[in-house]
């Protein structure tokens, strides 16, 4: 079994209406169902974390600090989780169920290099 980092990206839509409590609860449930389903297969290594959307900074050489990556890319990383899978194909298949896809986001699937190689 290998470990894979799933990076959840979502599209920044400035000025979008804040979701209603029902919508938020519904979204929450979709995530819990999806992560619970992975965990039920004993393939969840870590829930990972969700990231704040509003702020962030990008540090570049020469003390160039910009206000987040949003200038070049419309997408921003909303969070990540780590799963266990036999292959990239399997990890990819699992990612197809990610709720972020339903709101126009995407999942980047990357294999993690084990530390003790």
């Amino acid at each position: 079994m290998n470990e894979f980092l799933l990076i959840f990206r979502q599209v920044e839509t400035p000025g979008a209406e804040a979701p209603s409590p029902e919508q938020m609860q519904n979204t929450m449930k979709q995530w819990m169902d999806w992560l619970g389903g992975i965990a039920a297969q004993n393939k969840l290594v870590s829930n990972g974390n969700r990231l704040y959307g509003g702020t962030g900074s990008v540090v570049r050489p020469g003390e160039v600090v910009t206000n987040g990556p949003y200038v070049e890319i419309k997408e921003l990383i909303g969070g990540y989780s780590i799963i266990r899978a036999d292959s990239l194909e399997e990890a990819t298949e699992i990612s197809k169920g990610c709720p972020i896809l339903r709101v126009g986001g995407n999942v980047e699937v990357r294999q993690i290099v084990p530390m003790n190689m």
Binding site: D33, L35, G36, G37, A39, A40, L44, N47
Partner: protein, 409 residues
């Protein structure tokens, strides 16, 4: 209670108290002393009471004999002369006058301290449970062997090795420092949880023994709750879990000791008093902002005490299993989650998720798939139930699955 009933009863209630206090006094360095003195005390009660009749205060009699034997031991024993005397030379007079303290408070403290001493991660879980049953619950070797579906020799060896280990590690029978309780109590809770499960899920046909294991686990958990320093939210959550589960004790086995599935239970036999107790402890468990697996399992167990079979109930259970599995995986939780998914959202969705679990060596996995495919695809349902039948080891399970196959028609 007559004479013949009294002694076994006292053995059950008093042996563990005497042995705990003696252990507290003698330590793990000489583990056989505490158990020998306690056993001799009861042996001598059996002989004396048989000849002379019951004393006025049987418990007091037992304590007095235990005390005297302990003192005799201290006076005469080589250990005393060779090892303790040089250290205690100046305090020798006090030492001879030493009283084995069998007050309620000291008994409780000794039991709690022993609980922390026994529940050491250095010991395998089965050894911890075995020692807890022997020392904290006063179970006989035969009973422990029955509970583990094992034999005397194996259990004796296991307990002996465990005590050796505690001696080698120089484990002290004392309260952990206040700051360390949060971490240390985790092993205690795990052992109590396993002890309870041993009774609740055991395949042993002996329902009385199984119930005893559960009651003992609850009694020991209660010791933690009673004590201010160990009265933590997770201890209350564990207690709530145990109360909710126990509430179905009478409903889940038939007269032959065979298990009755949750769906088929007579809900009138669910014990309302224990359900209420469970709610009480679950409320106490909600203090603080940490949620651990006992909270989630207690909440799941709470939902199971709700009699109405609604989608809301099963959705609640499903969401709790989603969280539980993210904290800690177990095949049982994975199967139960899938069952909740079926009850909340229907068979189609549950079958897709069930197929992903691939717990192909687990007979309950095939039972679940057999149920999900019933009325969907009879052939597949049958093949899963047949696989389940092959994988099942216990006769009662085999009977149940055979019945399921029959019902499939």
């Amino acid at each position: 209670m007559n004479k013949t009933e009294l002694l076994p009863h006292l053995f059950r209630t008093e042996y563990r108290k005497i042995v705990s206090v003696l252990y507290k006094h003698f330590g793990f360095e000489y583990p056989e002393i505490a158990e020998d003195i306690a056993s001799e005390t009861f042996l001598s009660a059996a002989e004396t009471w048989g000849l002379k009749g019951l004393p006025d205060n049987p418990v007091g009699w037992l304590y007095a004999v235990a005390r005297n034997r302990a003192k005799d031991h201290l006076r005469r024993n080589k250990i005393f002369n060779q090892k303790i005397t040089p250290i205690l030379q100046s305090a020798q007079e006090d030492y001879i006058d030493f009283e084995i303290d069998l007050s309620d408070k000291h008994i409780r403290d000794s039991q709690l301290q022993l609980m922390f001493a026994i529940c050491q991660p250095v010991l395998p879980a089965e050894a911890q449970i075995g020692l807890a049953l022997r020392i904290l619950c006063g179970f006989g070797i035969d009973e422990i062997a029955d509970a583990f579906l094992s034999n005397r020799a194996t259990i004796n060896k296991r307990l002996f090795r465990a005590k050796e280990k505690l001696r080698e590690q120089k484990v002290k029978i004392e309260f952990p420092a206040l700051a360390g309780i949060g971490a240390r109590i985790q092993s205690v809770l795990t052992t109590l949880y396993l002890l309870f499960n041993e009774g609740y899920y055991s395949t042993s046909q002996d329902t009385t023994l199984r119930k005893d294991l559960c009651l003992e686990a609850m009694r020991l958990t209660y010791l933690l709750i009673e004590n201010e320093a160990t009265n933590l939210p997770e201890a209350n959550a564990l207690m709530a879990l145990m109360c909710f589960h126990s509430s179905r004790f009478d409903a889940r086995t038939d007269e032959q000791g065979e298990m009755i599935r949750y769906d088929d239970q007579d809900t009138n036999l669910w014990n309302e008093e224990l359900i209420e107790k469970g709610k009480h402890y679950l409320n106490l468990a909600s203090k603080g902002n940490q949620i651990n697996k006992y909270h989630l399992e207690a909440a799941i167990a709470y939902w199971h005490t709700v009699k109405d079979d609604t989608a809301q109930k099963w959705e609640g259970i499903l969401q709790l299993y989603n969280r539980l599995l993210q904290i800690t995986y177990s095949p049982a939780a994975a199967l139960n989650r899938t069952y909740a998914l079926y009850k909340a959202r229907g068979k189609q969705e549950a079958i897709i998720e069930a197929e992903k679990l691939k717990l192909t060596d687990n007979h309950l996995y095939h039972v679940l798939l057999g149920h999900l495919y019933t009325d969907v695809n009879k052939q597949i349902a049958l093949s899963h139930l047949q696989t389940a039948l092959k994988l099942t080891k216990t006769a009662s399970e085999k009977n149940r699955i055979a019945k399921d196959i029959e019902q499939l028609g």
